[in-house]
């Protein structure tokens, strides 16, 4: 007796989505702050399934390849028919080499990968806040473009460190030295009376900052989505390098919701280095600590 239902054919799973980098030339460099700059690239051939910038959802990331050097995750911070861009904070060898690229030079891209921010139409725009610090502003920038009317809140050490001021003139700025906007940390402000103004907070920045925001949200019954950073190798959910308490940041994340974060004791506490060794995350919530990975 032969039966036919539910007979999965082997052929269905014989091919793989390719993930080879696609090269794109640098067309413009834009110094955003003393330590951060945006790099704008031409959109390469759109037929290549391993790099589809227009599929990008805010919060997803792409792998950026400098041939002969290394490849690291970045988020797309500018996107239009004219091209796409990333915003880089110069921290180590790789980001320095990116910053030194000349116009016309090509860099490889694959992605976008991972899960971005979830957006809910039923939440009124004025009850949504995005809170960023450092290069954590990068993923929030595209999100802010898609959510006009929502509050964009940025924390920075000083006036010169503020990102995208022209791009989002309505953003609420905090500086630690008070040189621009309000003095202090966005978290202090949120902790106070304003928290209850929001139903949803999206955040990306130093992990201790994000951790306090999560705590504020829980206390005030606000939904929260957090974009994490972990050391990535494959970027496609295979090597396990980016794992955080059983979650794969590259595939299950980088954006996690409040309920998921509650299952992650490492959130705000531990990350893994290039060898996979678990190391602790410094607990200072200041945005001075450059990019959120520190």
């Amino acid at each position: 007796m032969i039966e036919r239902e539910n007979n999965t054919s082997a052929e269905q799973f014989n091919t793989l989505p390719p993930s080879c980098p696609v090269m794109a030339p640098l067309v413009e460099k834009k110094q955003e702050t003393p330590r951060m700059l945006s790099l704008l690239f031409e959109i390469p051939d759109v037929n290549q399934p391993s790099f589809l910038p227009f599929n990008n959802r805010p919060g997803q990331f792409v792998m950026v390849w400098i041939p002969g050097m290394n490849e690291k995750p970045f988020v797309i911070s500018y996107l239009s028919r004219a091209g796409f861009g990333i915003t880089v904070m110069v921290r180590g060898d790789f980001s320095r080499r990116l910053a030194e690229l000349k116009e016309g030079q090509k860099v490889g891209f694959r992605g976008p990968f991972g899960r971005g921010f979830s957006q809910y139409n039923e939440i009124p725009r004025e009850r949504i806040a995005m809170v960023g610090g450092g290069c954590g502003m990068a993923p929030l920038s595209l999100l802010a473009e898609s959510l006009p009317g929502a509050s964009l809140i940025q924390g920075a050490p000083s006036e010169k460190d503020i990102l995208y001021l022209d791009r989002f003139p309505n953003q609420i700025v905090f500086t630690e030295d008070g040189s621009c906007g309000m003095e202090g940390l966005p978290t202090d402000w949120l902790k106070g009376y304003v928290a209850s103004d929001f139903d949803m907070i999206y955040t990306c920045g130093p992990e201790p900052m994000m951790k306090s925001i999560l705590q504020i949200c829980r206390k005030n019954n606000i939904s929260c989505q957090v974009a994490l950073e972990r050391y990535m190798k494959c970027g496609i959910g295979v090597c396990g390098q980016c794992e955080c308490d059983g979650y794969l940041v590259c595939k299950d994340g980088p954006v996690f919701s409040d309920s998921e974060l509650l299952n992650m004791p490492s959130f705000g506490n531990k990350k893994r280095d290039a060898a996979g060794q678990s190391v602790s995350i410094s607990s200072q919530a200041s945005s001075k600590t450059s990019c959120k990975t520190n």
Binding site: M1, I2, E3, N6, N7, T8, S9, A10, Q12, F13, N14, T15, L16, P17, P18, S19, C20, P21, M23, M63, W65, P67, G68, M69, N70, E71, K72, K106, G108, M232, K233, C234, G235, I236, G237, V238, C239, G240, Q241, E243, D245, G246, L248, R272, A274, A275, G276, Q277, S278
Partner: protein, 313 residues
């Protein structure tokens, strides 16, 4: 026969697996938490990412790249070292599925050092890959793919653990059957066939250079499947011809119940799943088990274990 009537359990050196799917080494198995998750996805067993005696940073990125017919990787054994691993996997016995440790070294002594440390955690078995094609000092790049080296390393490792040892073989050798026999000679309880193939290379024509930072890497996935099937077939035949009985874990390109059944018919007692985690996600383990049950119903097979070696005349 209903789909739930097929017994898809299998056995490896006394270790009973509720189904034949095993997470292959190097895929996800970096932490206890991930193993726990894999257990929840219905895997029959899981293997940890290979551990060296001391920490290694591994190769630079790109380390893993997929193309339509397969995956290339040159991770270069990045890992936190055997001391950290001992800590990471201290609670491995609480994970509700059999877990295989995995260690590599440059010399038999290094293998033994790492193995001794790791096995204190309580792993159910230990796998030793002698077959990595892309890490200088290790595997086939260190000449571990000869019968002599295989036997020597297997012996050194078996001396430090009572648990069954599986030697993981390379597909890139002239006579894989001889390596399997050498492994058993050295005391191994079974063999895993195979590690990734090649090595292979992908080239980006705009950058005019190889895509993997290391230049080349091991090929896995669909591209590897026919070669892996032939290797398992050859090993099964070699063991049978030599009158030796030992289980084979078939690894290479298995991404469906049909592929798993092919491996089993070639001679495998269980199947490793690596690249298919990329193709189908972590649900691949329960999906393959389910597909096997449907095949069992269709072909009227009551016990999966009866099919081991069925295509091996």
């Amino acid at each position: 026969m209903s789909i739930d009537q097929m017994d898809i359990s299998t056995q490896l050196c006394g270790i009973r697996l509720k189904n034949p799917t095993i997470l292959a080494s190097g895929i996800l198995g970096l932490s206890s938490a991930l193993l726990e998750r894999i257990a929840g996805c219905g895997a029959g067993a899981a293997t940890i990412k290979s551990v060296t005696a001391v920490e290694r940073k591994g190769h630079n990125n790109p380390t893993v790249i997929a193309y339509e017919a397969g995956m290339l990787n040159a991770v270069g054994y990045s890992n936190a070292g055997s001391v950290a691993a001992q800590e990471e996997f201290a609670e491995v016995r609480s994970i509700p599925l059999p877990v295989f440790g995995s260690v590599v070294g440059q010399t038999p002594d290094e293998f033994a050092t790492a193995a001794e440390r790791l096995m204190k955690c309580g792993f159910d078995a230990l796998e030793i890959p002698l077959s990595c094609p892309h890490t200088p000092g290790y595997g086939t790049l260190a000449g571990h793919g000869t019968p002599e080296a295989t036997e020597r390393i297997a012996r050194a490792v078996c001396a430090v653990t009572d648990k069954p040892v599986f030697v993981k073989l390379s597909p890139n050798v002239p006579a894989i059957g001889e390596l399997a026999l050498a492994a058993l000679e050295g005391g191994a309880g079974g063999v895993t066939a195979v590690n990734s193939m090649g090595p292979g290379m992908l080239i980006d024509i705009e950058a005019a250079r190889p895509v993997l930072d290391f230049g080349f890497g091991g090929v896995s996935g669909p591209a590897l499947r026919p070669v892996a099937l032939r290797c398992v077939y050859d090993v099964y035949k070699a063991l049978r011809n030599a009158g030796r009985k030992a289980p084979i874990i078939g690894v290479g390109g298995v991404s469906s119940g049909e592929h798993a059944m092919q491996m089993i018919m070639a001679g495998a007692s269980a199947v490793g799943i690596g690249t298919a985690v990329y193709q189908r996600g972590v649900s691949v383990f329960s999906e393959i088990s389910n597909e096997l049950k449907h095949i069992g119903k269709r072909l009227n097979i009551a016990h999966l274990e009866d099919m081991i070696g069925a295509a091996n005349d």
